[in-house]
């Protein structure tokens, strides 16, 4: 198992959208990371309930969404189309309900491919339903069984890629974010989440092998994006959200160490780092995902993307058409300009990349840490450490350091309040022990056992 001790991409010139050292190729010849950026469309139900009585309406909704999107992709002559189906909780709780939707999507994608020659791919993302027991049982019980059964049924039903937005460790992390508690966040990400990822991804990789599908990757959405959304709402400082983002890298990297091959999930902005480290292709999202959440990284997130996503949009009617069709159109135009520039050579692609990067990165520390050069530097620092815990600790120290420097050099302008927070983060980071066991012992004492079962992470003894 590769432990990723060096970067797969070390030259900034090679760090570009559309190209990854280890592209992923599907049976139909579609290659992600092989030179072309494709749109990845995600859509979801409008305001409605999912139960046995509404299944016909559920089918109607997904059928309509996929048909209209495929039609428009053909009309706009997209070079290819990836669709993501993120299961809603009910569709994982009853795995058959999710698999049925997968089949609907698969059929229309196949039909579009055979009738119009549009290359298509389908990513399926079951929901991490383990939290439905509180505190969650991570490795046993009915929810765990149904979750894995959902992966299996979805693979059988026609998924090309399997992903998840797993939430191990989040029981602790939510509070850590809100309390500005760095040690708590490190414990959640570097210890709990990373261990859970290893367990989870061993299983997902197994299922994938068995059914001939590709294990694609996980996202630290419940950590990094929760922080980002809270920072957008001015609930927490932006520098804190930026540091958390970098701290999610070691946790998400575990999936690749266990056999995931990419493309990473769109909402995993840590993908920029994962691509540098693993060389696997990544999905990203930005301005065209404002339908799903506002963000301070609308352009810079395009810099090294191999798939370009809208994250998710509910099936409501806009004046121009149903919202998923509108998103599809926006994604096609966004990828067109990327591919056109790239067709003029590497220098052209880098120019376009540099304008996106520059256009966002001075305004917000969360954008700044997505700069390709910053990501390369920090990624190298992170993997210079041997374990997820030490990598997470290093991520916090290095990210805070880099932000402080950027502010001093005028590449960013942080308010005094933000700067005070940066110092607070560094002070906390410097108190983290170098020894993992010592850290665990220290944390176990303060952990709220109403919220988390440490034994589920192989910890309590």
């Amino acid at each position: 198992m590769p432990q990723y001790q060096s970067l797969s991409i070390s030259n900034l010139n090679d760090f570009i959208y559309g190209r990854s050292p280890r592209p992923v190729r599907l049976k139909n010849g579609m290659e992600i990371g092989g030179g072309v950026v494709y749109p990845e469309l995600n859509f979801t139900l409008p305001d409605m309930i999912i139960d046995a009585t509404t299944l016909p309406e559920v089918r109607r909704q997904y059928t309509q969404m996929i048909r209209e999107a495929c039609n428009r992709a053909v009309e706009l002559r997209a070079p290819g189309l990836q669709v993501e189906f993120e299961l809603l909780p009910d569709q994982t709780l009853v795995p058959e309900w999710g698999a049925e939707v997968v089949r609907i999507l698969r059929d229309t994608l196949d039909e579009t491919q055979s009738r119009h020659g549009l290359k298509t791919a389908l990513r399926v993302t079951p929901n991490d339903i383990r939290e439905f027991t509180r505190p969650p049982l991570m490795r046993r019980g009915e929810y765990v069984e149904n979750m894995f059964r959902s992966f299996t049924l979805c693979a059988e039903a026609g998924a090309d890629f399997l992903s998840i937005e797993s939430t191990g460790g989040k029981e602790i992390h939510d509070d850590a974010i809100l309390n500005g508690d760095l040690a708590g966040a490190v414990f959640a990400l570097g210890i709990l989440a990373s261990r859970d990822m290893a367990y989870l991804w061993d299983n997902i990789v197994d299922i994938s092998r068995q059914y001939g599908v590709i294990p694609a990757g996980d996202t630290a959405c419940g950590f990094g994006n929760t922080a980002m959304v809270l920072a957008e709402g001015r609930f927490i400082p932006r520098v804190w959200a930026a540091v958390i983002r970098v701290m999610t890298v070691p946790r998400s990297l575990v999936a690749y160490e266990r056999g995931a091959q990419g493309p990473s999930k769109d909402c995993a902005y840590e993908g920029v780092y994962l691509k540098a480290i693993t060389g696997c292709p990544i999905a990203m999202e930005g301005a065209e995902a404002a339908c799903a959440h506002l963000s301070p990284v609308g352009n810079i997130s395009r810099a090294v993307a191999d798939l370009w996503s809208n994250e998710s949009v509910n099936n409501v009617k806009l004046l121009g058409g149903m919202a998923p069709t509108v998103s599809l159109e926006q994604l096609v135009y966004a990828t067109r300009v990327m591919n056109t520039a790239a067709s003029h050579g590497a220098e052209a692609a880098r120019s376009l990349q540099s304008w996106w990067v520059e256009s966002d990165s001075t305004y917000d520390p969360q954008a700044f840490i997505l700069r390709p050069n910053v990501a390369l530097d920090l990624a190298a620092e992170i993997i210079s450490e041997p374990t997820p815990y030490l990598r997470t600790r290093r991520a916090a120290i290095a990210a805070a350091e880099r932000l402080r420097k950027a502010n001093a050099e005028g590449q960013l302008s942080l308010s005094n309040i933000e700067l005070r927070w940066l110092d607070r983060i560094t002070r906390q980071a410097e108190q983290l022990p170098g020894d993992e066991e010592a850290f665990i012992d220290q944390m176990i004492k303060s952990v709220d056992t109403n919220k988390v079962r440490l034994e589920e992470y192989g910890l309590a003894g």
Binding site: T44, L45, P46, D47, M48, I49, I50, L88, P89, D90, E131, F132, R134, D174, L178, N179, G180, T226, L230, G233, R234, F235, I236, P237, N314, I417, W421
Partner: protein, 212 residues
Amino acid sequence: MDESLKPIFDGILEGQTSEVVSAVQNALQQGVDPAVILNDGMVAAMAEVGRLFEEGEYFVPEMLIAARAMQAGLSVLKPRLAQENVQAAGKVVAGTVKGDLHDIGKNLVCMMLEGAAFEIIDLGSDVPPEKFVEAVRESGANLVALSALLTTTMPNMQTTIEALKAAGLRDQVKVMVGGAPITETFARQIGADGYSPDASRAVALAKSLVAA
């Protein structure tokens, strides 16, 4: 402000729990009316915290520390408030509806309401209608706060309101709703009494609902 209230006010603002506790004890000894300590000292301090938050000076971490300091002070004050029959601003049963595990927004709303001296019974997330009914019945709450973040759990807000009706409790409580996919229009449609797009405005809403 009364001299003896100043250290309470400042202690909460700075989140100094033990200072607040002793300041409350002092004030009580000096014979300051418990209701005055509560309103002019503690709630006023939390209002100032809210203002600092609105202005971008404070973030949630600072608010949480202040809220904890207030809670500590309140636990000293509570027996005396009960003696003198001072009522909480209102009693709120809160929760994220069935099928939905998103709870951060709801938690922030609870925190803000607590700062405004509401008493909170937080049922957590994935709360079925029956549990709301039971909690209202047992606590005698006059407010219910429902949160939903998924388009597929929004309808459970209506189910919950209907369960309250069926249990004959609808007239006893005002129902407020919120969460990212909720709109004013949706709130009206399902027969809720109020909607607010964020936690700060949720406090104003709660006050106006209990006053009505």
